[in-house]
């Protein structure tokens, strides 16, 4: 259990979370190495199928990170993303997967520290939840 190394996929909007990861980098803010970024042009691009597939492939946790509410580069993409995340959480619940394994975060492109904090927080949470029931299927 203790040496469980979860695999976490973060779908990150290019305009905020991806930029924040860069800021974290240039400030050398250290964070948990379990997170892998997938860049998308806007959190609004995310769709339920992609998220579900990601779990199916074996991800222990997934989160979507978009701009602060009201700050979306494409006006409202992050609001849509949140709706979809909520929707998929419900499905996960129905499938017997802890909906906590999926999350939506908002942050700005300058918040390098916040990016790291999210990565740590979420990794911690997934570590507590243990490997995904779909892992190694």
């Amino acid at each position: 259990m203790s040496d469980f190394k979860p695999k976490i996929v973060a779908f990150c909007c290019y305009y905020c979370a991806y930029a924040a990861a860069d800021v974290a980098g240039s400030l050398r803010v250290q964070y948990a190495p379990e997170v892998r970024l997938v860049e998308i042009p806007c959190s609004g691009r995310i769709d339920p199928v992609v998220i579900l597939k990601t779990f199916e492939e074996g991800a222990d946790g997934v989160y979507v990170a978009g701009c602060l509410e009201g700050d979306c580069h494409f006006l409202k993409g992050n609001i849509r993303a949140r709706q979809r995340v909520n929707y998929v959480q419900k499905i996960l619940g129905e499938l017997g997967i802890d909906p906590e394994r999926l999350a939506m975060y908002n942050l700005s492109g300058a918040q390098g520290g916040r990016f790291a904090q999210i990565a740590n927080e979420f990794t911690e949470k997934i570590k507590k939840l243990g490997p995904s029931p779909l892992r190694g299927r």
Binding site: D22, Y31, E34, R36, I40, D47, G112
Partner: protein, 997 residues
């Protein structure tokens, strides 16, 4: 040439580059960004300033028609408009920009620490440094004054970028026009010792406070008291520090126009962090005159931020606790309150270098030291061919700065229209190989970034691992992938190994994607056959203590990139033809100015006006502004329009239908009884505003109560022998429920009207009953002049407005005067109401035709309140003038010119490139459910003639919202297709399985 790398300079440069000019962008700083880079968020939307700025800065750097020179100054300008020779002096940076990778090793080893000016001296930086983490170009620089030449940096820099011997360079550059945009700087509040900045630790200036709020600032975005690191519980803001002060040496006479809103913003941000914080803003007039500003202030008040009308005499520090006490006067009582922290709302002033720059460029400055520009062309300086933009013209916020940047670009383009495209760089690429049928042969290039990556990640192992991945034809290791040398090598390898997909595992796509895409094009590959894996910023830099995990992660990231790139498709940007003509709707000053600018830039313009004559509201304004009479101005312009061969005017005309898309619109126009069809590439909406109705203050009941427009008429008759007492009532019909905004133009107009009355007859008694005198910027001097002439200004509260009673001798007015704690009873011969400016009749309908949203107040909504104030979500449509929000004439003119520049960006091209990573509808799958039509933030999808959704690749912005939402999965977002994303994720798990086997 554009001088100044702030937002004004970047806007001007990119507008010019966009419309076919080659631009030298020179800035004295190490990085682009200017003041905006120092801000945390921006009012009134509270958006992150850096998020807005970042893409702008990289955009300017990567634009092939912009040549950026940092640490550079204009020292001489010879020749004349159209043909100048600019002498530019480049100060050495001591770091070779071409070699530096921005790794920061030099700064890590540098032993010298100095106060960081960028952070308001609240933190330290090294002698070799980068101004801020997101600096563009992402290169270090040496502050030679503090450098002790220990050469530690030289030793550690494996890129060999450090060069202490660098000399300054003098460049002679041949150019056609110059735009000066050196911005403004903050007033140094330390000059006012009574506030204790620099003496009391817990007093900070607003710009220092912005740095504290910023997550990349000295406190990482947390608000701590400098004295003891405690979280402040009571914070006071003091306004008008160094502004609105007529004394020499104590600041400036004008109003700095941004500090009121900046403080409200900073207060709101504190509340967001810590809602329990008690905040008081001590102010004199809350100058919330801009679009949506009053709402913003009301929101702040709603959150419990207290606005206290009273300026502060001095700040006192408790030497033990570090707390600060302020005394202020309220309702005849002097009260003292203690705060843990005080923020000074310091004003702005011309940059120190303004005088030098003006001399070099041969222009005059105004009495306050800003660029002297004309009211009728706010970006034109006193020298032909030299224009000004941004804060250098006078205090202004970001959107107005952006507008003036565009306007200056338009002015320069008018001058140089013959030279368009002559020196712009058109890069020729080899013919692309057609590879769609071929098997993927992926080449993986893993970067060491000196030791930035290699120091943590085992690069050789990653290379080995990568070469074993499915579809990979080979993997290579580069010390610095981005060096010219490596790029050359990359192209050779592509040819040698017949690679057709490329993965570069290095740093951020935000900075390096354009570079590598370009390399692919040069190698004859489609630029979309590239994927980058960020194993530096997202890996080696942030997992320094776990080299093994970092290596594993780097492998995964590479595998993921390979997984995705195998499914990349070539994307082609297809040229679509542009009808190089413009349609301008509205024949007021805005429409006319935009039309003239476009016509001067050699485009055909259709100008439609629904009334019988051109001119709009300006026909009703009489008093001169800054020496210019609106009626004369408009007559001159109307004449110019009529005689311009490129402009076709339709009067009594109305737009009834628009179809098509950017570059190719078709419009139907009803002119009297006939309908005309016009084809054009862009639309500029300049439908203006009008005077709104007033229900209050006996208007309509008593003839002696008139509106400010009627007052203009009255003054133009020049006959006021009978009036002895005139009372002006401000905000009549503005800033109240249902019209929760400021009409912006009235306070200034009232002051002008009062002065004009005094001019006619010195003995006339004038009272102005106001809520906040919003004579922002240089208008403050006129406000002062009116007081000097004896005009009495009485501050009334909205809950006890003036009470009017008609009488035989005049109108009797009762009003409370807080400054004397008495009730004034006035008898007026004339009452003038500051009537509201409301959107033009039918603006909502017009907006509907073009799919432009309108706000609660009925004005048009721009794409982005800060950085795209003249664009609307519908591509190819631009807005300007009072249809955007109430404005003064000079501001309208700037907007109109700016809109012309934006429009010219489209019209200058014979073809637009459409496509790339945009949404595409699979018509078979579409069920016409209109989900996409509803959700697209730009209103692009529509249900077409085949009863399925259609998305124009020219208009689509590529956000993918529709693709994510389409219930039938009929929409794909190219380059981010679901299968691509899924393959990307799968790659990381497949390999894990493989490894455990």
């Amino acid at each position: 040439m554009v001088v100044g790398g702030g937002i004004a300079g970047m806007q001007a440069a990119s507008d010019l580059a966009e419309s076919g000019f080659f631009v030298y962008l020179i800035t004295s700083d190490d990085s682009l960004g200017g003041r905006m880079a120092r801000l945390d968020k921006t009012f009134p939307t509270n958006e992150c300033s850096m998020c807005l700025l970042g893409p702008r800065m990289t955009g300017s750097l990567n634009e092939s028609n912009i040549n950026l020179l940092t640490r550079a100054k204009l020292t001489q300008l010879e020749g004349e408009a159209g043909n100048f020779t600019a002498v530019v002096e480049r100060q050495p940076r001591y770091v070779d920009e071409a070699r530096c990778t921005g790794c920061g090793l030099c700064a890590d080893t540098c032993p010298i620490e100095v106060k960081d000016e960028f952070n308001g001296e609240l933190s330290k930086r090294k002698a070799v440094y980068k101004q801020f983490p997101q600096a563009v170009p992402n290169k270090y620089a040496i502050d030679i004054e503090n450098c002790i030449r220990c050469m530690k940096c030289t030793r550690v820099c494996s890129a060999g970028a450090i060069d202490h011997q660098q000399q300054s360079e003098i460049l002679n550059i041949n150019i056609g026009a110059v735009i000066l945009a050196p911005g403004f700087e903050s007033f140094n509040a330390q000059q006012l010792g009574e506030y204790g900045l620099g003496y009391y630790s817990n007093v900070v200036s607003n710009i220092q406070f912005e740095r504290m709020l910023s997550s990349t600032g000295p406190t990482g975005g947390h608000i701590y008291r400098p004295s003891d690191g405690a979280v402040p519980k009571q914070v006071a803001f003091i306004q008008c520090v160094g502004s609105r002060d007529c004394r020499k040496g104590y600041g400036n006479e004008y109003c700095s126009a941004v500090c009121c809103m900046a403080s409200v913003k900073e207060a709101i941000i504190i509340k967001e962090h810590k809602p329990e914080t008690e905040i008081v803003i001590f102010y004199l007039d809350m100058r919330a005159f801009g679009k949506n500003f009053d709402r913003y202030v009301n929101r702040a008040v709603g959150q419990g931020i207290k606005l206290q009308r009273s300026l502060i005499s001095s700040v006192k520090e408790d030497p033990i606790t570090g707390n600060l006490s302020l005394s202020y006067c309220d309702k005849g009582q002097v009260l003292t309150e203690e705060f843990d922290m005080v923020v000074l709302g310091a004003g702005v002033q011309p940059p120190k270098s303004a005088g030098e720059l003006a001399k070099a460029a041969g222009i005059e400055l105004n009495q306050f030291g800003f660029a002297k520009t004309s009211y009728s062309n706010p970006v034109e300086t006193t020298r032909a061919g030299v224009f000004a933009a941004g804060g250098f013209i006078g205090p202004r916020d970001i959107p107005e700065t952006v507008v003036s940047g565009s306007a200056a670009a338009a002015a320069a383009a008018e001058l140089l229209s013959a030279a368009r495209g002559v020196s712009s760089r058109e890069i020729k690429y080899p013919e692309e190989k057609i590879l769609s049928s071929e098997q993927a042969r992926v080449g993986v290039f893993v970067c060491c970034c000196g030791s930035n990556i290699a120091g943590v990640v085992d690069v050789s192992e990653v290379v080995k691992y990568a070469s074993g991945l499915p579809g990979v034809a080979g993997a290579w290791k580069f010390t610095y992938s981005c060096s010219q040398e490596s790029l050359q090598k990359l192209k050779e390898i592509i040819h040698e190994f017949h690679l057709n997909r490329i993965v570069v595992a290095a740093c951020s796509i935000r900075t390096h994607l354009p570079l590598f895409r370009n390399a692919l094009r040069e190698a004859g590959l489609n630029q979309y056959y590239l994927e980058m894996a960020n194993i530096r910023d997202q890996c080696s830099w942030v997992h320094r203590d776990y080299p093994e995990e970092a290596t594993a992660k780097a492998k995964d990231l590479v595998a993921m990139a390979v997984g995705k790139v195998r499914h990349h498709r070539p994307l082609y940007l297809k040229p679509v033809q542009v009808v190089q003509k413009a349609l301008v709707v509205g024949g007021g000053i805005a429409g006319i100015t935009a039309a003239l600018s476009l016509a001067e830039q050699d485009y055909q313009v259709y100008l439609i006006e629904r009334q019988e004559s051109l001119g709009g509201m300006l026909n009703q304004l009489y008093l001169p502004q800054d020496g210019i009479k609106p009626r004369e101005l408009i007559e001159k312009k109307i004449h110019a329009v009529k005689s311009h061969p490129n402009i076709r005017v339709y009067k009594n005309a109305e737009l009834i239908n628009v179809s098509g898309r950017i570059g190719d619109f078709q419009s139907k126009i009803k002119v009297e009884k006939t309908t005309i069809e016009l084809k054009h590439g862009v639309v500029v909406i300049a439908a203006g505003c009008r005077e709104g109705n007033i229900k209050e203050y006996m208007y309509g009941e008593d003839k002696r109560v008139i509106t400010r427009l009627e007052m203009e008429e009255f003054l133009s008759s020049g006959n006021n022998s009978l009036v002895k007492t005139v009372v002006f009532i401000q905000c009549a019909g503005s800033r109240q429920e249902g019209r929760e905004y400021c009409s912006r133009t009235c306070c200034g107009q009232t002051v002008r009207q009062a002065l004009a009355l005094k001019e006619l007859n010195e003995d006339v008694n004038i009272y102005v009953l106001y809520r906040d005198m919003r004579t922002y910027g240089f208008m403050e001097s006129e406000y002062r002049r009116a007081r000097e002439k004896g005009v009495i200004f009485v501050n009334y509260q909205p809950d006890s407005p003036p009470d009017l009673q008609g009488g035989y001798n005049g109108i009797n007015i009762k009003v409370k005067d807080p400054s004397s704690r008495s009730n004034l009873e006035l008898t007026a011969d004339l009452v003038v109401l500051a009537s509201p400016a409301v959107p033009a009749e039918g603006l909502d309908k017009l907006a509907g035709l073009l799919k432009i949203p309108v706000n609660e107040d009925g004005f048009l909504v721009e794409t982005h309140a800060k950085l795209a104030p003249l664009d609307v979500p519908t591509p190819g449509v631009f807005i300007c003038g009072s249809a955007h929000s109430p404005q003064n004439i000079n501001e309208v003119i700037a907007q109109a010119k700016g809109a012309a520049a934006r429009a010219a960006g489209v019209l200058s091209k014979s073809h637009l490139l459409a496509g790339g990573p945009v949404a595409k509808v699979n018509q078979e799958k579409c069920a016409a459910c209109v989900t996409c039509v509803r959700l697209c933030p730009y209103g692009v999808p529509y249900i077409g003639s085949k009863n399925v959704a259609e998305i124009s690749p020219v208009q689509c912005q590529g956000c993918g919202t529709c693709a994510g939402a389409c219930p039938n999965k009929a929409i794909t977002l190219e380059h981010y297709r679901s299968e691509q994303l899924i393959e990307k994720v799968r790659a990381m798990f497949n390999m894990e399985v493989a490894r455990s086997e």
